[in-house]
Amino acid sequence: MEWEWLAFAKGPLFRLSLMVMILGLGRLLFIALAGMVQAYRRAGNKGLDGARIARQTAAGLIPSFRPDGSRFIYSTGSFLFHVGLIIVPLFLHGHIQLWEKGIGLSWPALPMAWADGLSLLVIVTGAGLLLGRISYLQSRSISRPQDFLLPIFILLTFMTGVLASHPHWNPFPYQSTLLVHMLSGNSLLVLVPFSKLAHVILWPFHHLATELAWRFPPEAGSRILSTLDKEDKV
């Protein structure tokens, strides 16, 4: 029975989740790009320094090293968390095997010790970030339910992943562990386009988008006034 569930989670459910994620992200990407093209067309000043924008966007990847940065640990933790979060699911030997079986594609895998290490890194930093969010008033007060639920899903996925790949450490039945791993992993895929995880596709455009938004369309103000039927008076 459990094997059937596993096959379902690994097969149709995974395909569906992946499809939802890809279509959802495609939609977000399309909306963002269309918005940026429209903004550029309307902009009064069309000069854009692409190299500077790329540089400043990339600078956002570097953890904060400000001397007075009281959130230095938070930002470094977040950086390390993302490193493991991106590398492990894509380069885990077991995952690549599934891709190979499914669509015949494969690529070099991460050595198992590295995968374990990075997974532990994700678990430790993820738990730390969650604790940080809970214990700091300024983060806790602005948090939404997804800000607590998403890290819990991620931690669950990684913890069950580690346990499933090391059955001798695992106090739980193998199939149940794997099932939880697959269900929580699939849920995360579905949630990507509908939650803040959408930053997987939108983040690279944040700086460009901001830069374009500052290019106010020269005639927008008058059009807004006439739409509102207002006089052009202070």
Binding site: G44, R66, T210
Partner: protein
């Protein structure tokens, strides 16, 4: 629900003028928001920001207001959320569907009041933007919130009165200085320079075909004589061709703080005057917001590359010193001096080094604030709030608290602030915090050190 604040600060909105709205405020707010989304470039950005916001709270460590109050309402991400929430609920597909199913309700008067308060507690210094891992520009959201509010009449009185005079009044400037008074004031400054330096330096009025047309923040003609004398002396000593147009001479552009349309109208006036006198470049005096408003928005509103280039006086002064056209007496200033970076010219990295190079070329006892440059703290009077006298206690006690601590830590006797707004705010901080320090413009000190009779006579300090 937000937990109670460490030290709550409640300011009555006595400083707003709110015109007759004539109908329900929430409905009007949404109509204006819809019109702005339709014609401007904000819609896609709000969509992206709504999805990106990670709510990590890292912005809080950058905000001088939050640092002073410890009130979660002052976390920049919380402030932006006030507007993003309205956007999602009323203008995004997901938000509207959610509202239909779960009933998220209509915008309330209380939400509008919360925005009106929050967007004027923020000085739009954009320091939080440096720390946001998602690159959210909370300053831009503050501006947009203020823009919507201003179109329904919720704007600080001080800003409206100034802009009204600038765009519709007979004097066409924010301080209501008549043309005759400007001419007198320039003659007075010429006499002062003659008395101090023994040299005739002209304020060339309405000279056609000059290289630079000079726009000072007009309040300088009333409050900052030393800065203007420095500006004139530098241009004279280096033999720069320049002029001041009496048709329009105010660099101030409060549109930058609250209204895109007014920002554009004011920027166009600069260019009209430059074209009237056929000046090739626009030179802006010591003023942070006016410099940024002109630098970014003259090309934006006046034809992109066709618009005259905009230069800030600090950039030009450094260029002249570098070219050896201006040398300054390194003995002239002996006091301990520090430098305050105005947010509008430093935050984007535009003018950080030139003023320091100028200072180091003739001032020996220079001490930096920490943090400084791009990371520098706002004076607490940014975003036009310095003009609002009713909130002085908040500006100096909350918004300017970190700046006061920074100033005290330098032990300086003079703080240089090349910005009319920062100067006013810093003077009030110094007064309210009991600091022993003087506020000056960089051109004030240049004027003291410049030997006009023999401008090339000093070797300067080795770098």
């Amino acid at each position: 629900m937000l937990p109670p604040a460490k030290k709550a600060f409640h300011q009555p909105y006595s400083f707003f003028i709110e015109g007759p709205v004539g109908e329900e405020r929430p409905r009007r707010f949404l109509e204006i928001f819809a019109a702005i989304l339709k014609h401007s470039n904000y819609r896609f950005l709000l969509d992206i920001y709504s999805r990106l916001a990670a709510k990590c709270g890292r912005c809080s460590v950058m905000c001088p207001v939050y640092e002073a109050t410890g009130d979660p309402k002052d976390v920049p991400c919380h402030r932006s959320e006030l507007l993003l929430r309205v956007y999602r609920r009323h203008f995004s597909l997901g938000g509207m569907l959610y509202g239909k199913v779960f009933g998220s309700g209509f915008l309330t008067d209380a939400e509008i009041d919360a925005m009106a308060e929050a967007f004027y507690r923020c000085t739009a210094c954009r320091r939080c933007n440096l720390e946001c891992p998602m690159g959210i520009d909370h300053g831009l959201i503050t501006r947009l919130g203020r823009y919507i509010l201003s179109e329904m009449g919720i704007v600080p009185k001080a800003l409206v009165v100034a802009v009204r005079e600038q765009l519709q009044g007979p004097t066409r400037n924010t301080s209501a200085i008549p043309e005759r008074a400007l001419v007198d004031s320039c003659e007075f400054l010429e006499e002062e320079i003659r008395d101090a330096k023994g040299v005739d330096v002209k304020f060339p009025l309405n000279v056609a075909d000059a290289e630079y047309i000079f726009f000072a923040p007009v309040s300088d003609y009333l409050m900052e004589a030393d800065t203007l004398m420095g500006n004139a002396a530098v241009l004279h000593a280096a033999g720069v061709s320049w002029t001041v147009g009496t048709g329009y001479f105010d660099a101030i552009n409060y549109g930058l703080f609250y209204n895109d349309h007014l920002l554009g109208r004011i920027a166009r006036q600069l260019v009209e005057e430059a074209r009237r006198l056929r000046s090739r470049k626009i030179l802006i005096g010591e003023c942070g917001h006016a410099s940024r408003a002109a630098k970014i928005f003259v090309p934006n509103f006046c034809g992109g590359e066709q618009a005259p280039p905009v230069v800030n006086c600090l950039e030009l002064a450094w260029k002249l010193i570098e070219e050896g056209r201006l040398k300054l007496n390194p003995q002239a200033i002996s006091q301990r001096v520090t430098y305050h970076d105005p947010c509008n010219i430093a935050r984007n990295g535009w003018i950080v080094d030139p003023p320091r190079r100028i200072i180091k070329s003739f001032i020996r006892n220079f001490v930096e604030m920490s943090p400084r440059g791009v990371q520098n703290y706002c004076c607490g009077g940014g975003g036009g709030t310095v003009s609002v006298d009713e909130i002085r206690k908040f500006r100096t006690g909350v918004g300017g608290k970190r700046k006061a601590e920074q100033l005290r830590a330098t032990g300086a006797e003079i703080v240089i602030a090349p910005c009319a707004n920062c100067k006013k705010q810093l003077r009030e901080i110094i007064q309210d915090h009991g600091l022993a320090m003087e506020v000056k413009g960089l051109h004030d000190l240049i004027f003291t050190a410049l030997d006009l009779k023999n401008p090339g006579s000093y070797p300067g300090i080795d770098p």
